[in-house]
């Protein structure tokens, strides 16, 4: 099974760098902590753009990692994106005005363009610290290893289920 992990955000904008930090940690840990039969590609990127569809198209499962001002400060949340995938393509994301996507739009584009709809989750952390600074806030920084561990755990459990 091939997993795609995409951490995204601006690491020069405070806690917006959360996705990047988690992705970098998963990159380091993948070789040691993931089960042998798992293949994984980890991408750390500033924005989600449509060309990521090329990677999504060959993935069996996708995990996005982001920080959000809309969630409760300091609380991680896991969202199953596939449950929304069958709905009509949503309007209102910034893709309509620039070339940036959100995870849901990307997965919907994957379905529309490639008829490929792998399971996908968003791990998001709530924060209100998005100023012009490079460091994560203490609360969010503490959650980086925790969320990285959760994701690795999810991937390993999935592999175990497949074996069984």
């Amino acid at each position: 099974m091939h997993w795609l992990v995409i951490g995204f955000g601006n690491d020069l904008a405070g806690d917006d760098g959360f996705g990047i930090a988690v992705a970098e940690q998963i990159k380091k840990r993948a070789a040691y902590d993931l089960a042998m039969q798992i293949t994984i590609k980890v991408i750390a990127t500033r924005i989600l753009a449509p060309e990521l569809l090329e990677d999504i198209n060959i993935a069996d499962a996708v995990i996005f990692i982001d920080a959000s001002a809309a969630l409760t400060d300091g609380l991680p949340k896991k969202i199953d994106l596939q449950k929304s995938i069958s709905s009509e393509l949503e309007c209102g994301s910034s893709i309509f005005l620039s070339h940036r996507c959100n995870p849901l739009t990307l997965m919907q584009l994957s379905q529309t363009l490639y008829n490929h709809n792998p399971p996908a989750w968003l791990y998001a952390i709530g924060s209100c610290h998005f100023g012009l600074f490079e460091n994560l806030s203490d609360v969010v920084a503490d959650l980086v290893p925790e969320v990285a561990a959760q994701i690795i755990d999810q991937i390993n459990k999935h592999a175990l289920c497949e074996q069984a």
């Binding site: 910034s94 005005l97 584009l109 529309t112």
Partner: protein, 469 residues
């Protein structure tokens, strides 16, 4: 007394801007102005920094075309060091710049402009986007994804990352290309070339639907500027600086570093974007255009077989219309991938000697390259310690400033009648700007959730008409 219509922000471009349309007492459009509402302070905060930091620092100006700044800046540093960089380094720099042009043009055409071109200028704005394109013509959307992805992948392979690579350095590039990477890129190019050709065919037919837009989208006489090769071929990295009029008559042809003898910059109170002009004709008469339309207007040949076929057809079009930037962009995507294939097919590309080393040997350096949007100039001066004392950048979008303002005035005069606005009219005026593909963001291109609120207000402050989305 005049009235003002404001389009704020302009959407599906790179950066933050607004348009104001000024009406006279009779309600007729007097002029339209394109305001760039963000400030780039790079020239100032580069001062006091060591010159060798400039390429990586200046690349941060933009998240879309960082490679162009990297290349122009490194060339300026080469001149400060007074070195001739190894031939393989020149070829490698050419390749990464071409990959940059391809990926940026793909973004502009497929993601930002194809919704207008495929779905129509008056189509439902909620569907006029890349998702709408994906529904209507999945193959076109997939083509855009594939072409941009390959351009970015080539940048990542060479430079280590897709955005803000630091691989291009003063004196050359930081490391050589491996045979494995060369072969990988070569394997992917034929399909990209085929896709680019197919899209050119499709769009050449689709052009017939846009005769009105072609007639009024910044369609006026003027000059075109760009780099040109020694055999009048399309040039994106080196060459001479040339200006020609819309009939093709050359009005200036000079070494690029002498640009200040013909180009001056005017400052407008309404915008942070400066307005360069051709000195001999003065301001604002010395309006000129840069970018893919100008480059293909100036070039007699692309130097690659398929792009040359497309260029032959392109030469039959009225280059005065900015609408033809779109087709020019597609032809340059085709050219970029063909030229990358040519450059990679030469075994010298794997040579390990890719960097010249030297300290500062001159106090002034100038670098020029063709960025996706046009001619890009970096000009530095340093002190005896190699610290920057002066930095001046003229970015491609700046060169087009006068033409963009004149272009939206022309379109506004044509479309706005009797104080009435429609969403389609506003979109057309924005679309004039999109043809130029301005890159205003300078290190950020996040536009977020955009609202568009255009009001037509009379002298007494009464709202005559309003369009909101």
């Amino acid at each position: 007394m005049s009235k003002i219509i404001t389009i704020d922000p302009v959407t599906r471009i790179e950066g933050h801007s607004k348009i104001t349309i000024h009406l006279d007492d009779q309600g007729e459009v007097e002029e339209a102005l394109f305001h760039v509402t963000q400030l780039r302070g790079f020239e100032k905060f580069a001062e006091g920094r060591p010159f060798h930091e400039m390429p990586s620092l200046m690349a941060r100006i933009c998240g879309i075309c960082p490679v162009s700044h990297l290349v122009a800046s490194a060339k300026a540093c080469d001149m400060l060091m007074s070195v001739r960089i190894p031939p393989t380094a020149v070829k490698l720099r050419r390749i990464i710049n071409l990959a940059q042009i391809a990926q940026s043009h793909a973004l502009s055409f497929f993601y930002l402009s194809s919704p207008d071109l495929l779905l129509g200028m008056d189509s439902d704005p909620a569907k006029r986007n890349i998702v709408g394109v994906a529904r209507e013509n999945p193959e076109l959307a997939r083509s855009g994804v594939q072409l941009r992805a390959l351009g970015q992948e080539i940048i990542e392979i060479l430079g280590g990352k897709k955005i803000h690579p630091g691989w291009v350095v003063p004196g050359g590039v930081s490391h050589a290309l491996s045979a494995e990477h060369r072969d990988y890129i070569l394997k992917k190019l034929p399909e990209a070339i085929q896709i680019a050709e197919q899209t050119i065919k499709w769009f050449s037919v689709a052009l017939e639907k846009f005769s009105e837009e072609i007639a009024v989208f910044a369609n006026f006489p003027g000059l075109f500027m760009g780099l040109i090769g020694s055999h009048d071929e399309l040039e994106t990295y080196d060459g001479r600086l040339r200006l020609a009029d819309d009939q093709g008559t050359v009005v200036a042809d000079l070494p690029a570093e002498d640009y200040k003898t013909i180009v001056a910059e005017a400052i407008n109170p309404h915008s942070y974007l400066k307005s360069p002009y051709y000195k001999p004709q003065g301001y604002p008469a010395g309006l000129y255009r840069v970018g893919p339309l100008a480059r293909l207007h100036l070039a007699k040949t692309c130097g690659t077989p398929r792009a040359d076929q497309a260029l032959t057809e392109f030469k039959k079009l009225d280059h005065k219309s900015a609408f033809h930037y779109h087709l020019a962009r597609l032809i340059e995507i085709l050219y970029a991938f063909e030229m990358i294939e040519q450059l990679l097919s030469d075994d010298v590309i794997l040579d390990s000697h890719v960097r010249a080393h030297a300290a500062a040997n001159a106090h002034e350096g100038f670098g020029i390259s063709e960025a996706p949007r046009g001619t890009l100039m970096h000009h530095y001066k340093i002190d005896d310690n190699g610290l920057i004392t002066y930095a001046d950048l003229i970015i491609a979008t700046g060169h087009n400033s006068l033409a963009m303002n004149k272009g939206i005035t022309q379109a506004a005069k044509h479309y706005i009648k009797n104080d009435k606005l429609t969403e389609g009219i506003l979109n057309r005026i924005e679309a004039v700007i999109r043809t130029f593909d301005p890159c205003l963001s300078c290190s950020t291109h996040a536009v977020g959730q955009m609202a568009l609120d255009v009001q037509l207000i009379d002298v007494g402050g009464t709202v005559l008409d309003r369009v909101k989305r």
